[in-house]
């Protein structure tokens, strides 16, 4: 397990307190899980993805991650319509472990971009992790 100062927490994404990250790319938002989350879960063996076209409210569960240790629900940090899912994860779920920021999970067209603005930045997220 990584120490907090070993975690890769880039500054160009925002974080949720459920340990998802979100990043604006044009008028959509990509979502994945943080380095902390993948490290806690251990080897990820399965990712259950939503379908393109599904809609979720902020905080809704949109899928599950299964690791050798546990199953975790995924919560959407910014509500909206799914415009793409990372199908590569179906055959290669370990991509999330290898690089959680390249191993994105879904791409959302947000209902309310303000929901993104209210997510945590790196420092605020780090504070939460220190408190954990």
């Amino acid at each position: 397990m990584k120490e907090i100062n070993e975690l890769n927490l880039p500054t160009d994404v925002r974080y949720s307190d459920d340990h998802e990250w979100a990043k604006v790319t044009g008028d959509t938002i990509k979502v994945g899980i943080s380095d902390y989350a993948q490290d806690q879960l251990g080897d990820i063996v399965f990712v259950e993805l939503p379908e393109v076209g599904d809609s979720f409210e902020t905080g809704d569960e949109f899928g599950t991650l299964e690791s050798v240790k546990a199953v975790s629900e995924l919560y959407i940090p910014v509500g909206g319509e799914i415009v793409a899912v990372n199908n590569e994860l179906e055959d290669a779920p370990e991509l999330v472990n290898q690089d959680p920021y390249k191993g994105w999970i879904i791409e959302v067209k947000p209902n309310e971009i303000n929901d993104f603005e209210s997510l945590l930045d790196r420092d605020a997220y780090l504070e939460i992790l220190k408190g954990d």
Binding site: F46, E48, T64, E66, V71, E73
Partner: protein, 431 residues
């Protein structure tokens, strides 16, 4: 004992259960009996029933009187196998786990599916679980369809399972030839799964290839259910016809009829649906020294890990029945099963032909296996009484399951029925 554990009376033990959930009336039960008077009581009940071996039973309808090879009670008598519980500790339970793994392998081959689980409670609960699984895979869909030619008890269990849910179960009628009428499917677009039984309750072998095509055409999953797995010795397995989920009752494989239970829910599916599958699954692996071993696998689907998100609240399986079935299948082998199925088929056809010649009217024109329905113009219950005196229990009246079928009877013949018995039945009908 109450004094020792510091409890006032029996009711105090249940105080944590909310009062509204408790049964407040007095239980309507007879006074306790001594062990010897209980034995006498049981013998009295036993003598009131017309069961094997004193009687030859020509009724199937979900329970089948097949021969149980001597190897089965012998092997199942080993105390190591006598656990109803699924083993959590692989280091303690390699024998049981390997037995379950062999069962899964044999079952997957028999049913023609990629993967089979370590069993469900019985065929009926297996069907209910299969439909719920179809709804999980169908995600937003809320409806499933079941053929009315599926065993009525199976359908009742499905209704019970679905009662507290907001899912809808649609019933499909059957045609004059006894097979399921799928013509209404063309207008459906939101069914998650459609379930058929083959051979169905009337013994009719459904055209599974055509059914699978019709069901897949409307974007639904095909759930193929069965009550007589012996039929797969002669007919194409549901999986090889393209069924997505296959489930049914495995009592035929080495288990006695035993007043209706316990049964064995055989259950399998295509590999891509394995994570939505309910029940235990045993996998093959290697230990630290590279030696072959067996463990429970994909447990993350299950209740002890996923709690309320589990695929099913089944957290166990039919351990003893599962091992029994695997030993039965291994004892017969593929060739043996084919021969056994043929024997069943031929004997049934003999009785069917005989009854038709004796004046009974055939009801369904489709191909049947082990069971068939005929109609009598006169009161068959009188013939039934006469046969009963001769130790033969013949025909199940279908009126109680299907209105309008009061003169129709379901017959079943297995390999254990001697030809002489069939001849007696035929000659009594002729009179």
């Amino acid at each position: 004992m109450f004094d020792t554990i510091g409890v006032k009376d029996f009711d105090e033990l249940f105080e944590t259960v909310p009062e509204s959930c408790r049964y407040d009336k007095k239980m309507d039960l007879p006074e306790p009996k001594t062990e010897w008077s209980l034995n006498t009581y049981m013998s009295e009940i036993r003598s009131m029933m017309e069961v094997t071996p004193d009687h030859t039973v020509l009724i199937g309808a979900g329970r089948y009187q097949h021969h149980i090879p001597a190897t089965i009670p012998n092997i199942m008598g080993r105390s190591e196998f006598l656990t109803a519980y699924t083993p959590y500790q692989p280091e303690m339970a390699q024998g049981t786990l390997q037995g379950l793994f062999e069962y899964q392998t044999l079952t997957a081959r028999l049913l023609g599916v990629d993967v089979a689980n370590a069993s469900m409670y019985d065929g009926a609960s297996g069907l209910a679980e299969a439909l719920l699984m179809g709804l999980r895979i169908g995600r937003k869909k809320k409806r499933v369809a079941v053929s009315t030619a599926i065993h009525p008890h199976f359908r009742e269990v499905v209704s019970t399972y679905f009662l507290p849910t907001d899912f809808e179960v649609v019933e499909l009628p059957f045609l004059d030839d006894g097979s399921t009428d799928l013509s209404s499917l063309a207008d459906e677009d939101d069914l998650a799964a459609v379930a058929l039984q083959s051979p169905n309750f009337f013994g009719v072998v459904e055209d599974m290839d055509a059914a699978v095509t019709a069901i897949h055409n409307i974007g639904a999953l095909c759930v193929a259910c069965f009550s007589e797995p012996m039929s797969f010795g002669l007919f194409k397995s549901p999986g090889s016809c393209g069924a997505d989920i296959v489930c049914g009752e495995g009592q035929s494989f080495g288990m006695p009829i035993s007043f209706g239970g316990p049964g064995l829910g055989m259950f399998g599916c295509r590999e891509k649906f394995v994570r939505s599958m309910p029940g235990r699954l045993v996998g093959e692996t290697k230990d630290l020294d590279g030696k072959r071993g067996f463990v429970l696998t994909l447990s993350t689907r299950e209740q002890h890990i996923r709690r309320e998100k589990a695929t099913s609240n089944i957290c166990s399986n039919q351990g003893i029945c599962t091992l029994t079935a695997s030993m039965y299948m291994a004892s017969l082998g593929g060739t043996g099963l084919r021969k056994m199925a043929r024997l069943n088929y031929d004997k049934t056809e003999y009785l069917k032909k005989g009854l038709l010649e004796a004046g009974a009217k055939g009801c369904f024109s489709a191909q049947t296996f082990n069971e068939f329905v005929v109609e009598f113009s006169n009161d068959f219950s009188l013939v039934q009484k006469k046969l009963m005196e001769k130790g033969i229990v013949a025909g199940l009246n279908l009126g109680r399951f299907y209105p309008g079928f009061e003169n129709r009877y379901l017959f079943c013949v297995t390999e254990t029925v001697p030809k002489e018995v069939l001849d007696i039945v035929i000659s009594e009908v002729k009179k």
